[in-house]
């Protein structure tokens, strides 16, 4: 126990009573922190007075490693940034490198990329919602229902890429290999049955009074703060900003699909939860269209495996399931990037944690952190 005074906070002094703030170190090994993440919290009773996120325990030197190996070699390392979404990580990196070497991606590869990315979004949101409810105290049931669905999609990933999580499937100029025979039919089956699960899940949770009272009005993030802090992804949209890179940039072939972008109003934990639930329905819509229109053909363009790009600076970004995932590369004419930088949505969305938690209860901190949707592999890199 430690005594400390938080900035801008006055302790209530009563006659004959000495009070002090309680400083707690939540983490790095705390079940609610989704990895090795620490929150130094100062408490007045149960109210959070100050909060300092501490991270870096999982730092793996990702960026410097990538600067010391060829462009292709760091592709498998991008899987390990946000290990729930290896496919979208691959895509963002491939997009940046494709700008460097200017290759065309074949039609079939573009469609398969969209399919993989949207399946990844389903995987991410479904596990996020599960973990979020786990944090809320709904131990087990929602998480395991979610993981049951996730498993079906991971099976698809395994059949296509050979690995469940570390897919390493995208290549500059296409995909590593075509999907096996019958894969598209199996994917369609999974996609068609997904809304059934969503209906069930909504029935299970969305009207539950305990969830409503614990999430509504908790951890409000105002629109202005969200924009100023550079928040992206479902968290930004939950705060009422209609901004989705799939619509703004229309990278890949997203301009060909009809889908809506759900966004919230209040910017509280419930909105963040619901935006993800609704986004999954839109992902299913995109998947149906993409699986319908998928053409035959090669999946790999004429891209060299190892190359020396001309000196240039590029930034490739996509709408990852967690937010804007960007890769910034500087090429200097050698086979290795001179500078390699990741813009991790998890880390940048985490910066507003303190603002959302101040004044709330300590139990709400756990939910707010859960609703941000961080993966420590990406925060620490």
């Amino acid at each position: 126990m430690n005594t400390a005074t938080a900035p801008n906070y006055e302790l209530i002094q009563q006659d004959g009573l000495e009070t002090s703030l309680l400083e707690i170190s939540m983490g790095p090994h705390h079940p609610s922190t989704h990895g090795v993440f620490r929150m130094d919290v100062k408490l007045d009773g149960e109210t959070v007075v100050d909060l300092k996120p501490v991270f870096g325990y999982l730092h793996r030197n990702h960026e410097k490693l990538a600067e010391n190996m060829s462009y292709l070699s760091s592709m498998p390392f991008t899987d390990r940034l946000d290990y729930f979404n290896s496919m979208t990580n691959n895509w963002a990196y491939a997009l940046a490198a494709e700008k460097l070497i200017e290759v065309e991606v074949p039609e079939r590869a573009e469609y398969l990329r969209v399919v993989m990315a949207e399946l990844t979004r389903l995987v991410n949101h479904v596990s996020l919602v599960g973990f979020f409810l786990n944090d809320l105290g709904a131990l087990g049931t929602p998480l395991l229902y979610a993981f049951r669905e996730r498993e079906k999609i991971l099976d698809l990933f395994e059949q296509a890429s050979g690995a469940r999580m570390m897919c390493n499937y995208f290549r500059f100029g296409g995909l590593r290999n075509d999907v096996p025979v019958g894969w598209i039919g199996r994917a369609r089956e999974v996609v068609d049955r997904f809304p059934v699960f969503l209906d069930e899940y909504e029935q299970l949770l969305c009207e539950n009074e305990i969830i409503l009272s614990r999430t509504q009005g908790v951890g409000n993030l105002s629109r202005e703060l969200a924009i100023n802090a550079g928040i992206t992804g479902p968290m930004l949209r939950a705060s009422g900003v209609n901004y989705d890179l799939r619509k703004v940039d229309q990278y890949g072939i997203y301009d060909r699909f009809k889908f809506r972008v759900p966004y919230g109003e209040a910017g509280d934990c419930y909105d963040r939860f619901m935006v993800r639930m609704l986004e999954m329905r839109e992902s299913v819509e995109i998947l149906k269209q993409a699986l319908e229109g998928i053409p035959e053909g090669p999946v790999m363009g004429n891209a060299p495996r190892v190359f020396k790009p001309n000196p240039a600076e590029v930034y490739g970004r996509i709408e990852g399931p967690k937010g804007e995932l960007g890769f910034y590369l500087i090429a200097d004419g050698t086979p290795k990037p001179y500078r390699y930088r990741v813009r991790p949505p998890s880390l940048i969305n985490l910066t507003v944690l303190r603002d959302m938690c101040l004044g709330g209860k300590i139990a709400d901190t756990v939910i707010i952190l859960g609703s941000i949707d961080i993966v420590l592999g990406e925060v620490d890199r």
Partner: protein
Amino acid sequence: MSILGGGIFKGMAVTLRNFVGSYFYKDRLTTNDYSWRPNDKLPQRAGDYPKEEGEQRRDTTTVTNYSRNFPMLLHDGGEPMDTVRCVACQICERECPPQCIYIEKSTEKKENASGKPQFYPATFDIDVSVCMSCQICVEVCPFDAIVMNSQFELSTPNRFGGLLLRRDDLLKSNGYYHKIHPEEAAARDKRIAEEKAAKEAKKKAAAEAARKMAEEKAKAEAEANEGTPDIQENAE
């Protein structure tokens, strides 16, 4: 929200339905069922995995067509070191992201499967405790010498030596590759044959042209064409 607590009961109905359903619906039983397989037929080593003749695998997801675990070195059958495809060019060693490959080039050349004198790996080690199964080595190999194995039962009581696969552990025949990854192996073989045919046609055309151009010098030039192509050049 009409009645307080109504939403909770609604949710409880879902869990009840799932609970009851788990006894009746096959797709609710997500655990792989191995009971159909006698105990001694369970995959002890993944080398056994390509099922015996006529045996039907019920689970489709345990080992898939593209499953990859750790790399192996291909040879074309017979005595492994006589037909090994690897020429110790060390590209995979250089490109390997976690740097788990260690190669020592042989000092002298030896005839390989195609009858050409080539270098061969005197040492070829893969530390599977470091390898992350990313398949980059397979993609950069210009000689189709290294491919992914699907063997996954590699546990060993020997922590250091047991997890360091030496050249002779890594050598597997092309037939074995066809067994574990039939589609991929067939496609690879087809591509190799096509490349070989194209190369030979090109060589033939070049020889033909040379003969026509200068008949007295034809023999010398044709011989020069027969010479070993430079490894570094191939690698590019």
